[in-house]
Amino acid sequence: MKDKPIITVKNLTKKFGHFIANDALTFDVYPGEIFGFLGANGAGKTTAMRILCGLSKPSSGDAYVAGYSVKKAPEKIKKRIGYMSQKFSLYEDLTVEENIRFYGGIYGLKRKDLLNRMEELLDRLDIKSIRHQIIRSVPTGWRQKLAFSIAILHKPVIVFLDEPTGGVDPAARRQFWELIYEAADNGITVFVTTHYMDEAEYCDRVCIMTEGRIVALDTPDNLKMMHQCNTIENVFIKLARNHE
């Protein structure tokens, strides 16, 4: 990783009253990297991600995303990123095609580009046959792939995935990860939060947070070696228990 970082986080702190949600976070993420952000519920993952997406301001410290400061230019950041979450991603009452057109419009794609990219997307996911089906009737695994593809429809430099999977079968999960590999291969940086530790194994590097602090940051292999564990789940449990 010799490139310049695409995300630089320096002493990022976020307080809510006396509660410190993020405590002096410092790390870099490089272009084309699949960066996993792990932590238990309440560890501060979502707070940090919201700041990096330009949705919330740090109490102190700063972060640069795609070259812009989250403090000074959050609007510029929003135009250059994609976002997907498990909780909310697609409109259930709209069809597959309507969702694509809606989000494409929100991201400011021109009509012609939007229509071209929609056809390309439907083709790549092999879902032309269900383009007029409403989302509610589409299986979870397909929905997730669609939501991810929509999040990168405007070709952002970074895509943020907030707990993107869950509840799908092993085959669908792997197909989802292959889409992520593909995006990374095309130079899109993937920043993914998850509390499913087995998913961390798919990331290039993982950052583990407990109680607002970064307690580990390295490749999955190095973390396992360093802590003499056979899985990232065991590394995580070891670190979390040490911290208690």
Binding site: N41, V168, D169, P170, Y181, D198
Partner: protein, 298 residues
């Protein structure tokens, strides 16, 4: 303790359960492993006497789920997949409510829930809606046990729960098993399968495999390899284009692939891809690989 014989259930054109057979002995921890939409919840609703099967017979403790539903409910504890306690009631009020519904007093059966409930007792005045995920789960389990449950049905109790709470939950199940309970638990997490005595793999309304976790992986009838490469996507595409390869998929940092039949030149096949790789070796399959064999080609 739990028996299902040729249970069928359809909703319109959707065959949620297609002739399902299942047998769980007393004192057994049985895992029902399958993805979303595979029929797990429908099966639970039949066992909890909430749905009527279209055909087939289901019994719990020898009692028929249709004819003896009232008796079954007395010995059955159920924890649905969605948190279903009263969010506006406190921890303590929820527990008292569920005890009252079953006409028992909390103190009569307190011993059964003590190891679990004591962990959330310091928060007994807190509303259930304000509890963390792990604590909600402990409360729901306490409420499912308070009427001196003999058979516990848990529908995806660990979905969306963090790694530490997940492990604690399975420790609690071990404890309940040691007290003689019978537990049927569903999960989409393959790694949890290893903690069960027996597991049943379910997909599209069909239980296609039942046995101990060890036995199931022994039945894997292809040769499975693992390798590492920094060019995962390219390697996957290459493997999928080879005739010798049955299935190839990512698995964490590695790629797993299975062959139609044994090859003595596997190394040469990989080398000729021109893609740098490392750690090529044959591996023994895990439950997840078994599932991939079944799902991967469909």
């Amino acid at each position: 303790m739990i028996e299902l014989r040729e249970i069928r259930k359809s909703f319109g054109a959707v065959h949620a359960l297609k002739s399902v057979n299942l047998s769980v002995s007393k004192g057994e921890l049985h895992g029902l492993i399958g993805p979303d939409g595979s029929g797990k919840t429908t099966l639970f609703r039949i066992l909890t006497t909430l749905y009527l099967p279209d055909s087939g017979i289901a019994t719990i403790g020898g009692m028929d789920v249709v004819k003896s539903y009232k008796k079954i409910r007395r010995i059955l504890g159920y924890m649905p997949g969605k948190f279903s306690l009263y969010q506006d009631l406190t921890v303590e009020e929820n527990l008292k409510f569920f005890a009252a519904v079953f006409n028992v007093r909390v103190k009569d059966n307190y011993e059964l829930i003590r190891p679990i409930y004591s962990q959330i007792e310091p928060f007994k005045k807190r509303r259930a809606g304000a509890l963390s995920g792990g604590m909600k789960q402990k409360l729901a389990l306490s409420c499912a046990l308070i009427h001196k449950t003999e058979v516990l049905l848990l529908d995806e109790p660990t979905t969306g729960v963090d790694a530490i709470s997940r492990r604690e939950f399975w420790d609690m199940l071990d404890h309940l098993i040691s007290l003689g309970l019978t537990i049927l638990v569903s999960t989409p997490y393959m790694d949890e399968a290893a903690r069960c005595h027996k597991i049943s793999l379910i997909h599209e309304g069909d239980i296609f495999k039942t046995g101990s976790p060890q036995m199931i992986v022994q039945d894997f009838d292809r040769i499975l390899y693992s390798l590492r490469t920094s060019q995962r996507l390219q390697m996957l595409r290459y493997l999928r284009n080879r005739n010798e390869v049955y299935l190839a998929y990512p698995s964490g940092q590695s790629i797993h692939f299975s062959l139609h039949k044994s090859q003595n030149n596997i190394e040469r096949i990989i080398v000729s891809s021109g893609i740098p790789y490392a750690h090529l070796h044959q591996i023994s399959p895990e439950i997840e690989d078994f599932f991939m064999e079944r799902l991967g080609k469909s």
